[in-house]
Symmetry: C2
C-alpha cells in the first residue's frame, strides 16, 4: 500500500488538468473524496474539477472553497467508483479514458493504468487521508471537512462494522486538523425533512410481522410517495427500520417502483444470509444486506418474500 | 490530571473490599464504569462489587466475568455520580461514607476525600481508561467491552458534540485490546422493541408545528403508554424526534406523568437557549437540552409551552 501511495502521489505531481469523477447517486464518501482531492490539487497549483451527476443540497457545503477553473481535460481520476457502469450519464464520455482509480470496494473492476484500491479501508476518504499525508499537502479546514464527511457517512459515524481502530485514529487526526464535526454530524445524522418523517409514520402503519416475529415487512407504495410528495432521495434509510426491531432476523422492505413491480431490500441479523435469500428470487448482494425485484400486487409480492424467507427460518 | 491518576491508582492498590456505586436510572457509562472497575480490582486480587438500583437487561452482558464475592464493605467508590442525590435508594446507606469519587460531570458536588473528576472527558469510562493505563492492569476483552459501552453510549457512538479527537483515540485503543463493537453497537444503537416502535408511530401522529414550523411539539400521554404497554425506560430518545426535523429550532416533548401533570423536554438547535426557555416555566438545564414541569390539560400545557417559545422566536 505504501508503494502505491508513493506512486499515486508522484502521478498527481506530474500531471495536470484533472477531471475527478464520482459515482452516480453520489453519497458523502464519493463527494467528500472528489472535493478533497480537487482542493488538494488546486492548492498545488493544478487545475481540477469534480464531475458528478448530481449534487444533493446537503453536500453543497463541500464546494465552499473550490475554485471554478476553465481547462481542457488531460487527466481523469475516479473516486469511490467500483465499476464504470456506476458513472451513470458520464460513462459514455469517460469510459476507456480513466488514468487513475482510487477506491475502497473489494469488488472494484475499473480498468485504469494506475489503481490505488484498498478493500479494507472503511471509506474511500480514509485512503485519501493517507495519500494526502504521503503528498505532504497543507491541511485546511475545508479538506478536513470533506474527509470527515466521507468517513462519517460511510461508517454511520463510526457505528457500522466496517469501522476499525484505524478508522477512529484517522477520524481523530482529522478532528485535530480542525473540522466542523458538529455541523456535519447534525446534517448527516440528526436531521429529517418533514416529508421524510411523514413517510416514516405511514411506513410504520404497514409493518407486518410473521414467523413468530422473526421476520418483519414494510412497504412503500407509489401512492404513499406521491401523496406525501417525497423524492426518491428521501427514501434512504427506510430499509433499516424492520431489521432494527428486537428479535427480527429478516427485515424486508418493499418499494413500489412502478405498478406491479417492487424493489426489495432484505436486511438480516445473525445467521440468515440476505444474499442467499434474494438469490432465490433472482437477486443478490451481501450477507447482511441484499436486494431483488419482484412482480405482482403488493400482496403477491409479500407472499413471494414470505415463501422465500420461510426457507431460511 | 496525571497526579490525580497516580494518587487514585495508589489508593486502589492500598485499599480493599470495595462497594462501587452507580447513579440511579443507570446508563451505559455508569454501569460500564462500575463493572470495568470491579473487574480491574478483582483481577488485582481485591474484593469488589457493583451496587446499582437497577440493571436494565441490555446491560447484563457487562457482568459476564464479574465474580460474586461476600465481604464487609471497607471502601466506597462512586462512578459517574455527580451528586449524592443521584444515588437513589442507596443514598441513605452511603451518604457521608464515600472514599473516592470518579466522575466527568463539570457540576460534580460529591463530597469525598479523594476526587478524580475531569469535566472535559466525554465519558466517565474515558477517565477509567486513563486510570487503568496508569495502574498497568492486564487488559481483557470484558474490561474493554465495559469501557466501550460507556464511551459509545455517552457520545451517541462518537456523534455528539462532546466527542473529541482524544475520545476517538481512546476508542481506537479499546478496539485494539479487543472488544465486541458489532454486538454493542447493535444492542445500543440499532435495536428497538416492538412496543417502542408502536409508541413512536403514535407519537408521530401527535406532531404539531407552530411558528412557521420553527417549533415542533410531540406528546406522550399515560393512555398511549398504557394501551401499548411500554415501560418508562422505553421512552428514552423520544425527545430527539422533534428537534431533528429540518428547520425546527425548538423541539418540545410533553410527557404526561400523572393526570394534569406533564414533564417537558425542550431541545434546541442553534440560537435559542433551552435552559432560558425552561427557566420561564420554573425549570432549567443546558443550552441545547433542558426541562420543566407544567400542569393542566394537554392543550393547556401546550399553550404554556407555545407562549414560552414565542418569546424566543
Amino acid at each position: 500500500m505504501t508503494d502505491k501511495l508513493k506512486e499515486t502521489a508522484a502521478f498527481l505531481r506530474e500531471h495536470d488538468c484533472f477531471d475527478i469523477l464520482t459515482h452516480d447517486y453520489p453519497d458523502g464518501d464519493t463527494l467528500g473524496s472528489g472535493f478533497a482531492l480537487c482542493l488538494a490539487l488546486q492548492q498545488m497549483g493544478k487545475k481540477a474539477r469534480v464531475i458528478t451527476t448530481f449534487l444533493p443540497k446537503d453536500f453543497v457545503f463541500l464546494t465552499n472553497e473550490i475554485r471554478e477553473q476553465d481547462f481542457e481535460t488531460q487527466t481523469v481520476v475516479t473516486v469511490d467508483v467500483a465499476d464504470v457502469r456506476l458513472l451513470g450519464k458520464n460513462r459514455a464520455a469517460y469510459e476507456g479514458r480513466i488514468d487513475l482509480c482510487i477506491d475502497h470496494h473489494m469488488t472494484n473492476v475499473v480498468d485504469a493504468p494506475l489503481r490505488l484500491v484498498d478493500g479494507h479501508a472503511a471509506a474511500n476518504c480514509a485512503i485519501l487521508y493517507k495519500l494526502f499525508c504521503e503528498m505532504g499537502i497543507t491541511w485546511t479546514r475545508a479538506i478536513a471537512n470533506c474527509l470527515y464527511t466521507g468517513i462519517s457517512t460511510d461508517t454511520g459515524c463510526f457505528r457500522y462494522t466496517n469501522t476499525t481502530a484505524e478508522t477512529l485514529r484517522i477520524g481523530a487526526d482529522i478532528i485535530d486538523i480542525g473540522c466542523d464535526t458538529a455541523y456535519i454530524n447534525k446534517v448527516m445524522f440528526e436531521t429529517k425533512t418533514k416529508k421524510k418523517l411523514a413517510l416514516e409514520r405511514e411506513v410504520y402503519d404497514t409493518i407486518e410481522y410473521c414467523f413468530d416475529d422473526r421476520c418483519a415487512i414494510i412497504a412503500v407504495t407509489c401512492d404513499m410517495q406521491r401523496s406525501i410528495g417525497v423524492s426518491d432521495g428521501e427514501l434512504e434509510g427506510l430499509a433499516s427500520i424492520p431489521r432494527q426491531i428486537e428479535g427480527v432476523e429478516i427485515g424486508i422492505t418493499l418499494r413500489e417502483k412502478a405498478p406491479g413491480e417492487f424493489k426489495v431490500s432484505v436486511r438480516t441479523n445473525g445467521q440468515v444470509s440476505a444474499s442467499a435469500l434474494c438469490a432465490t428470487l433472482g437477486g443478490g448482494g451481501h450477507s447482511a444486506a441484499a436486494g431483488c425485484t419482484v412482480k405482482g400486487t403488493l400482496d403477491e409480492a409479500k407472499a413471494q418474500l414470505k415463501a422465500a424467507a420461510a426457507k431460511f427460518l
